[in-house]
Symmetry: D2
Subunit: 261 residues, 4 copies
């Protein structure tokens, strides 16, 4: 059974900082946000977690495998190298949406995102090593069927983008409302969801829903492991199976060979 | 009258590269994508343009002020420092959607995004210096009313995110279909649109549409200049006026004091 | 007694790559080199190790605390995100110079740095966890007395730089020849040395040697721990003691309070 | 005749910042320093200038081609994205050492590098466009003969490093004292010097001096242009000529074909 550990990463007092004393150059803000995200992706990714850019001032990470000391180090390192600081809240639950609620709650209770005095909250409990299992994290990796042939090589980029967004918006709402799963667009035509234990039927239903509501055809690879990297890697391999076999839903039955070279 | 110069930035052969010889660690892909975007933001931003991350493998830039040599240098520098290369297509029109169509078209005609042989396309004509005017670029900067009070400090981050996405999806479709304007989520609760000449009534209509369709309240600052940075900076200042005056739509009547310190 | 684990990081085939098919823009090479070093510093630093930029195409890291899997992951991640790959050789010995010889040797035996076919060597044995002790790594952190008052605020930058270089060159040779210690300039007026077990008398002799040979006055803080970060942090605190007490050599007698916030 | 425009880049109040309220993790400082340098390299390099990391808290740039507005933008952008700010002083003279003296002087007159109140100095005059000529910048690119065969593939990395350092220290002092030329190690076995107008005899004398004093054999390519990039690129091509022809000193007689693809 899944046991998702999520960490909410929130930049402290960011809104006010971006306009004080005056509005800052937009491209400098974009650069800062993206590079901060990239550093989080490297730190968390090297510990076999996942981070999603989400809204950039608020980011969601799947941190099964990271303990309190890891979170503390991450926060310290960011504070040493950026003109802003981050607050970190951790939440755990078999249901991702509930886990995120807990993560958000411990940060909110410490103060507003725009509270001039609230800095570097570090709260919430990580899963003790002894309690971790191979079923803790389920990751589903979706992509759009033949996006390049249907969209990228034929429409102007914005209309391709609108199609992908429609598919994403539909999937994100459906999976959140039906299952408490959290879905994130990760670039190209790819969406990664952190889910509770879902079945093949659940995924088929989601894919049919998106096709009906947004006229976008998805396929999905699903993996489960003790951490996001291994679950996600297995999901990627399963997605490659979809591509080769021409199928719509594939589960990684065994852990993907994590050939890390 | 607006005369928008847009550049489509497309990573060559990216889909195949990400899975050859095997799928790559997702967090490494996220890091590469974000840092590539950050470098584009710095290069284009320093020349007073804007870049939007869009789908990361395909990005849209407002490049009024950048000439052919600038595009060539950007392409060379990326090619020297990343394991991938980029193709650049430029398009110009008073209507942003048409400009992007032109930009996409010159790249597509050179070959598929996943053509193993197509690399570093550099095509399309930039606006000659002599033809540039202070009315070339209109930028509208939207944000969600009291996002922190209504969402960030109260809901779990994903539900806040879903609300912001609904607002974005609604605005992006409306502005594209009604006016050929292109809208991009840039983090937090901010959306930046590149528009043709729109009136206060057009913006009010767009904001009412989004409130009705997605139940999200927006306000907007609008600026016009010969380049995206100045237009966008004026728009940011106008948005601050909305904040202080409690209004919904504000146009920067004079160029914002660009106090670049 | 010290037991230094050093890793040689060597970019594969870099010389030829920088001029094939033609010489590349120098500032792009500088950017790539610096950002690669920064990524190594983050990865190794987060595991409590140290990395020194050395020659940039060849870098030296103190990797007590990193195991084989860590090295493999580092190599994979760099290979995913840069247009070059790295070879890693590990060597262990109570004497740092001997450890580095071993590290260099395992890479050299696999092939030349400019061998077109040699890529991503990963060789050498890391210290088993059970064999690690609190005396494994000794770090000495030197800085120049009153560099700002004597040099930075008075001479032109290059002449200040020449003075610092003289001090560095003298110290690096003396410590290497006398003790097999390896010294690295790390910016400003700071030099960090990885040493075997040296005494206060050894450090006083080194400082006197540098004053006599290069007319540069140094002071030093020394720390010892199971890894470079803790040893180095203790050394930094000891150096602060020199500053406050007006002394020349200070050893951290107890582990510095590693207040990691 | 040369007319070198140099900019001193100095991080404001850096020494105190690195230890306030407590010493910061060394690898975070290394990361910040390297990434700041990389950003300077990109900004200045894209405008055809050169930057040298020098001491990281103080860096030297050849900025022929950058005007006051460029310097102001660079300073603003760094201030928006880093936890530190930079002061910039510009100096111009046919002799590089004198130019740097002027650049350092305008910063020093505004206050100490560690003055808690001195921030973001921006002083000194850039060369007016109309006064620029193709002879303004002379760049000499040195490398060590057969460094890979003699050192990298045979000695341990630190002893190779010591040899390269000896060669660098000898060259830097000789060229500074004899000619006011400024030399910078740029990685691998490469040294780049910014020189006044020097002759083939001057370069031969420098190379002989280094061989006699440090037992390191150098060869050099020399280029001249209106900016550092073009002069340096021509120098690199001339160095390739040395490699192919087996010569020791080569001047780029015509501008190198700047094939910027």
């Amino acid at each position: 059974m899944t046991n998702t550990q999520l960490t909410l990463v929130q930049i402290d007092n960011y809104g006010p900082w971006t306009v004080t004393p005056d509005p800052r150059r937009e491209m400098d803000l974009q650069t800062l946000q993206s590079r901060l995200f990239a550093d989080l992706a490297q730190f968390v990714g090297a510990r076999d977690g996942y981070v999603f850019f989400t809204r950039f001032d608020n980011m969601v990470a799947v941190t099964n495998g990271l303990d309190h000391a890891d979170h503390e180090l991450l926060q310290e390192s960011i504070g040493n190298r950026y003109p802003v600081t981050i607050s970190l809240g951790v939440g755990v639950d078999k249901n991702p949406a509930v886990a995120l609620e807990r993560a958000t709650d411990v940060v909110q209770r410490a103060g507003s995102a725009q509270d001039g005095d609230r800095r570097e909250v570090l709260a919430g409990d990580t899963i003790p090593d002894a309690d971790r299992t191979d079923g803790d994290v389920q990751i589903a990796h979706f992509d759009v069927n033949d996006a390049t042939g249907k969209y990228t090589d034929r429409l102007n980029e914005f209309d391709t983008f609108i199609h992908i967004e429609q598919g994403y918006a539909s999937l994100m709402r459906h999976l959140r409302e039906e299952h408490g799963a959290l879905s994130f667009f990760v670039g190209g035509d790819n969406i990664i969801s952190v889910t509770p234990d879902l079945s093949e039927a659940d995924y088929r239903a989601a894919i049919e829903h998106v096709e009906a509501e947004a006229d976008v055809e998805l396929k999905v690879g699903v993996g489960t492991a003790s951490n996001a990297h291994e679950a996600g890697f297995a999901a990627k391999h399963a997605l490659e199976d979809c591509r080769h076999l021409g199928t719509t839903v594939e589960f990684a039955t065994e852990p993907a060979e994590i050939a890390d070279d």
